[in-house]
Amino acid sequence: MTASTKPRWRFRRPSVLPGFGITFGYTILCLSLVVLIPLGALVVRASGLGLSGILEVAADPRVASALKISFGVSLLAALTASVFGFLVAWVLTRYRFPGRRIVDAVVDLPFALPTAVAGIALAQVYAPNGVIGAQLERIGIKAAYTPVGIFIAMVFIGLPFAVRTVQPLIAEIDKEVEEASATLGASRRATLWKVVLPPLIPAVLTGFALAFARGVGEYGSIIFIAGNLPYVSEIAPLLIVIKLSEYDYAGAAAIATIMLGISFLTLLAINLIQAWSRRRFGYV
């Protein structure tokens, strides 16, 4: 037989497997109808307002305060979730104890539990007469119906992100590296700080960013516990719902655009962290 292959430009590399055209076409069709066109509608609406229009909405004191609460509290909650999430991930991968698998499964509860259910449950538990709320009340902390309640709900939904992003990396740590560090005379603490933790930083940051983004956008698990007092405990997503119920579509679109902008920046940050991590540590 005679043969020769020379690269010629084609959209996809030739393959014997069939079905590329139909599956690719269907994918693009669904993506366009479900995601791109509706999101495009928001962009169209927002560009109708213009940058000045959006800033004008953002400058409204109630909107500004809601955005500040959403972003500020989410930042604190993501920080908390990251610290405890790391601890949980470490304990789950490094230590053996009875019930470990159950604890491991419980971590995903916020993924599986519908947000409205989580919302009313958290409100009940942390209310002044609730199981934990009453104890907090005794030491002078009002949890439900204050920003503290928002914080609690955001930690709840952010926790699995913090745990699940670092957990596989902790599991992959090469024990020989730790042993090498120990044979070179490093104390356990020095080994942890200098050898074990640094490669985990990108994953911790990614988990933090994911928890933060999720917290900012969260609605269902927060509104029941937050009390929703304007200027005090009103979050940005709730304000969108309020604007919509007042048929103020422009205002709702403006707030949504600001929130989308921030989530894209967060996504970008995650990608940058991962690109850096790949360069620096050779993995994501």
């Binding site: 996809r12 590329f20 269907y26 491991d104 947000t115 538990v125 596989p168 956008g217």
Partner: protein, 297 residues
């Protein structure tokens, strides 16, 4: 030096307890950390979950069961099942098609496509609902068209289904894409060289290889579809007995201070969540190798 070392070594008495490993923490530290982790998880996750069931049953089984004899509650359950029965298969077919095109073929712009498919995960649920309101409301982009033709999208089943599809859009695809990529194309090629048609190869080789990943992702997709609150809340219009899904019904009951009923209805969803978690964990333990690594969500 080596001679002294050898002597010392031989002279060492057997130590009563083994020295602690160089690669773990002391016993006390270990148990403290475990305790902190468990207490933290208990306070934030387990106590709220338990509360749902405790509150639901606080007035006894009779009251609990009575909640579900309410026509509004039944209507909510029915609507939720219908929505999931449309949204989940839609995303299943989409996910299989997308992962086949993306994982088994090489073409430019692939990572952009994956990012776009993932997009709904990074959009706030409320914004997810809002974009459909902007498209279909009377002043919306296509609203006029639908209003003219008398098709009610918002505050009706189509809107709820669309919003649900949006928020669960990436579930199946993002589990199957890495899974199929990991598996490569050699087995399909082998099937083709043995004379199988493309469809036959897909059914007898590809599908069995991804079955656990498929089940896993459908499970999570379904849990989210039945439990979605924010996005559905925006597009549903909260019409009792008509456009209320279970989560929305929970909200209404709660806001009416009908706490026992709210928690009773919520316990349905909490039960679903527990079953989902259980099956998910079993799949992860037994078939870890047949799920996409790190594809948990």
């Amino acid at each position: 030096m080596s001679e002294t070392a050898a002597t010392t070594f031989a002279a060492l008495p057997a130590k009563p307890d083994t020295p602690r490993s160089a690669v773990t923490e002391g016993r006390a530290v270990r148990w403290t950390l475990i305790a902190v982790a468990i207490v933290f998880l208990a306070l934030f996750l387990v106590v709220p979950l338990a509360t749902v069931f405790v509150q639901a049953l606080s007035k006894g089984w009779e009251t609990y069961l009575a909640t579900f004899r309410e026509p509004d509650a039944l209507a909510a359950v029915r609507l939720t099942l219908i929505v999931a029965a449309i949204a989940v298969p839609f995303n299943l077919v989409f996910g299989i098609a997308a992962s086949w095109a993306i994982a088994k073929f090489e073409f430019p712009g692939k990572s952009l496509l994956v990012t776009l498919i993932d997009l709904p995960f990074s959009v706030s649920p409320v914004v997810s609902g809002l974009i459909y309101v902007l498209v279909f409301s009377a002043q919306g982009v296509f609203g006029a068209f639908f209003v003219q033709h008398g098709i009610q999208v918002l505050f009706a089943l189509p809107g709820i289904v669309l919003a649900t599809i949006f928020v669960t859009f990436p579930f199946v695809a993002r589990e199957l894409i890495p899974l199929m990529q990991e598996q490569g194309t050699a087995e399909e090629e082998a099937a083709l060289t043995l004379g199988a048609s493309g469809l036959w190869a897909f059914l007898t080789v590809t599908l069995p290889n991804i079955r656990w990943g498929l089940l896993y992702s459908v499970l999570l997709c379904n849990a989210r579809a039945m439990g979605e609150f924010g996005a559905v809340s925006v597009v549903s219009g909260h019409i009792r007995g008509l456009t209320n899904t279970i989560p929305l019904h929970v909200e209404i009951l709660y806001n009416e201070y009908n706490f026992v009923a709210a928690f009773a209805v919520a316990s349905l969803l909490a039960g679903l969540a527990l079953v989902t978690l259980l099956i998910k964990s079993v799949l992860e333990w037994r078939y870890a190798g047949e799920l996409a690594a790190g594809g948990r969500h």
